[in-house]
């Protein structure tokens, strides 16, 4: 179509291939390390097929670590993309699904789904989606019109929605006394270890179309940053674009929440870093967020499962330890 090879395509390809390399490195590292000893050598041996397929190490690498690493990559990609979209739509670099309380809303939905005994897919994912849409509507209603552009209003409403969601979660947890409680707590901790390839496949099948859809709308997102009126007079159907982006993002966020609980700040850290490196053009940032967010989450999960000597810590702990200080820094800088 574009025979002249527009310069933007080059930028997209450069950024993506750089980050794909990083992601590949992270994945290899991710499947080489774990609570049992094994080295990169073992991974390559099993990659090359020189290792017995029946061996215990083969099982650990391909059936335990590999699905987990892929899940982390998908979750990281979806969450960073979610942050990127909200930042564009609200024209506020501090917006992020977790900070806005959308993750919390879908967590409520997910817990209700678990309590009703639904399976993780599609049952819990759907109740989580309902929860996230409800929170989204609440936030949009609370900070309607112009005020949503103001950082303070947005943050305050997010803090309130989050506090409310936290209270509802605690309420549901304390009302639950039987063995379902373990399921909820286990899931809330943000555990990535219990998925197999089937679940990863389902999640990939739901998320990948979303990634493409967001990429398809990446130029309108650029124009939206110039203001709704400007975007509209540049030929963007802003109602359709905004609606599609909001629903797609809520869907992505709720899908990840229903699989691995509450993981915060990924959508803040990654778009911010990538914007510093590649600039603010969303046609570059969307693919960069998919690959960069995946890389970041694989590393965070790796830290989460190798840092503690006994057992693991939830990956959400690592992302929050990195993300929250950055958030405060950004807030301070932008209110200067």
């Amino acid at each position: 179509m574009n025979i002249k090879s527009p310069f933007l395509v080059k930028r997209v390809i450069t950024a993506s291939s750089l980050l794909i390399l990083l992601l590949g490195f992270a994945i290899v590292l991710g499947i080489s390390m774990g609570s049992t000893d094994s080295g990169i050598k073992d991974v390559f041996q099993s990659l090359l097929g020189t290792k017995e397929p029946e061996s215990m190490l083969y099982t650990i690498i391909w059936q335990i670590r590999f699905p987990r690493v892929l899940l982390a990559a998908l979750v990281g990609a979806a969450l960073s993309l979610g942050g990127l979209v909200f930042q564009a739509l609200l024209r506020n670099p501090l917006a992020e699904p977790y900070i806005l309380g959308i993750s919390g809303g879908s967590a409520i939905g997910a817990i209700i789904g678990i309590l009703m005994g639904f399976s993780r897919f599609p049952g819990v994912s759907l109740t989580a989606f309902t929860g996230s849409i409800a929170t989204l509507l609440l936030i949009l209603a609370m900070s309607s019109g112009q005020t949503i552009l103001k950082k303070d209003a947005l943050l305050l409403s997010g803090v309130m929605v989050n506090a409310f969601c936290g209270a509802v979660i605690m309420f549901l947890v304390s009302m639950t006394q039987d063995s379902r409680l373990h399921n909820i707590l286990f899931w809330l901790m943000g555990d990535l270890s219990m998925v197999d390839m089937k679940h990863v496949g389902i999640l990939a099948a739901t998320l990948l179309p979303c990634f493409f859809l967001v990429f398809w709308l990446s130029n309108p997102m650029n124009l939206l940053l110039m203001g709704k009126e400007t975007a509209q007079t540049l030929g963007v159907n802003i109602k359709a674009v905004t609606f599609t982006l909001l629903v797609t993002t809520s869907f992505m966020v709720s899908a990840t929440v229903s699989y691995c609980g509450l993981v915060g700040f990924v959508g803040l850290v990654i778009p911010h870093l990538l914007r510093l490196v590649f600039g603010p053009d969303h046609r570059v940032l969307v693919p960069a967020c998919v690959f960069g967010g995946g890389t970041y989450m694989v590393f965070c999960d790796l830290l989460a499962r190798t840092l503690p000597e006994q057992g693991e810590m939830p990956a959400g702990v690592i992302t929050a330890i990195i993300g929250a200080p950055l958030f405060i820094y950004l807030l301070k800088r932008s209110s200067r």
Binding site: V9, M226, V236, N237, G279
Partner: protein, 266 residues
């Protein structure tokens, strides 16, 4: 019929509030057309209706002799460019990137620009005198420079008509003149019809080919600056004492505000 914009009996209301009442006017092609009027007279609403952002409740609006609702979204964007009142975005796009966004009505969904588009953007940047700032980030520029960037983006849209909503508000004197000169150059060199909302009656009087004076959502007066800028019209519209004489530069009327202590009439 050589008119860029033809409006017949445009009316609009927000809820019960009737903000525009039977507004009719015509903007010839290659005209510098300025809409003036006090706050709340409906200037911005009228601007939004012309740009297609708002649909009028009643009335008829033709752009290049074609009803506005017959335009496809992108076709309209190729015909009319709109520079809204100062917007601020906390995202570090460069000047070139922003100007290039003006090409998107000509491009596919992903807006992949080609060499040709970059050429047009560079011309727009040169036209607005932004060459030295082309690779600077928007948030590093002054208000006047930012305004020129948005005008360059509008030029890059290669429209027949450019609409501006108070482009000189909040600019210092030197920049007010630069922006107005730029718009005049746009009209004479590129043949673009310029429609502007302005607060500054004096600037409007000096630059406009035609003026439209709005008051309470109605057209109070329209025509050549000499016909519109009279103290009767302005005092009735703005509700304050004014002195209108001829500008020392000749040709255009000059408006002077009259403080109470200098009151010339009883």
């Amino acid at each position: 019929m050589n008119s860029a914009i033809t409006a017949k009996n445009l009316s609009h209301s927000f809820g019960e509030d009737l903000v525009l009442r039977n507004v009719s006017f015509q903007v010839p092609k290659r005209d510098f057309f300025i809409i003036i009027g006090p706050n709340g007279s409906g200037k911005t609403t009228l601007m939004k209706i012309i740009s297609g952002l708002l649909k009028p409740r009643n009335g008829e609006l033709k752009i290049l002799n074609r009803p506005i609702d017959q335009y496809h979204r992108k076709a309209l964007a190729r015909t009319i460019a709109f520079v809204p009142q100062m917007t601020f975005a906390d995202f570090p796009f460069t000047v070139t990137e922003i100007v290039l966004m003006g090409r998107s009505p000509y491009l596919g969904m992903l807006g992949l620009e080609e060499e040709n588009d970059l050429e047009i953007a560079n011309q727009a940047i040169a036209f607005t005198g932004l060459e030295n700032l082309a690779h600077r980030k928007l948030d590093q520029l002054s208000g006047g420079e930012q305004q020129r960037v948005f005008i360059a983006r509008a030029i890059c849209q290669e429209p027949d008509i450019i609409l501006l909503d108070e482009p000189t508000a909040s600019l210092d004197l030197a920049y007010q003149v630069r922006i107005m000169d730029l718009m005049e150059k746009l009209k004479t060199e590129k043949g673009i019809t310029v429609v502007m909302v302005s607060h500054d009656v004096n600037l409007a009087a000096m630059y406009a080919d035609h003026l439209l004076l709005l008051h309470n959502g109605q057209v109070m007066c329209q025509g050549l600056p000499d016909e519109v800028i009279t103290y009767q019209n302005l005092e009735a519209a703005y509700g304050c004492t004014l002195l209108v004489d001829e500008s020392p530069l000749g040709k255009s009327p000059r408006v002077t505000l009259v403080p109470r202590k200098y009151s010339i009439r009883e």
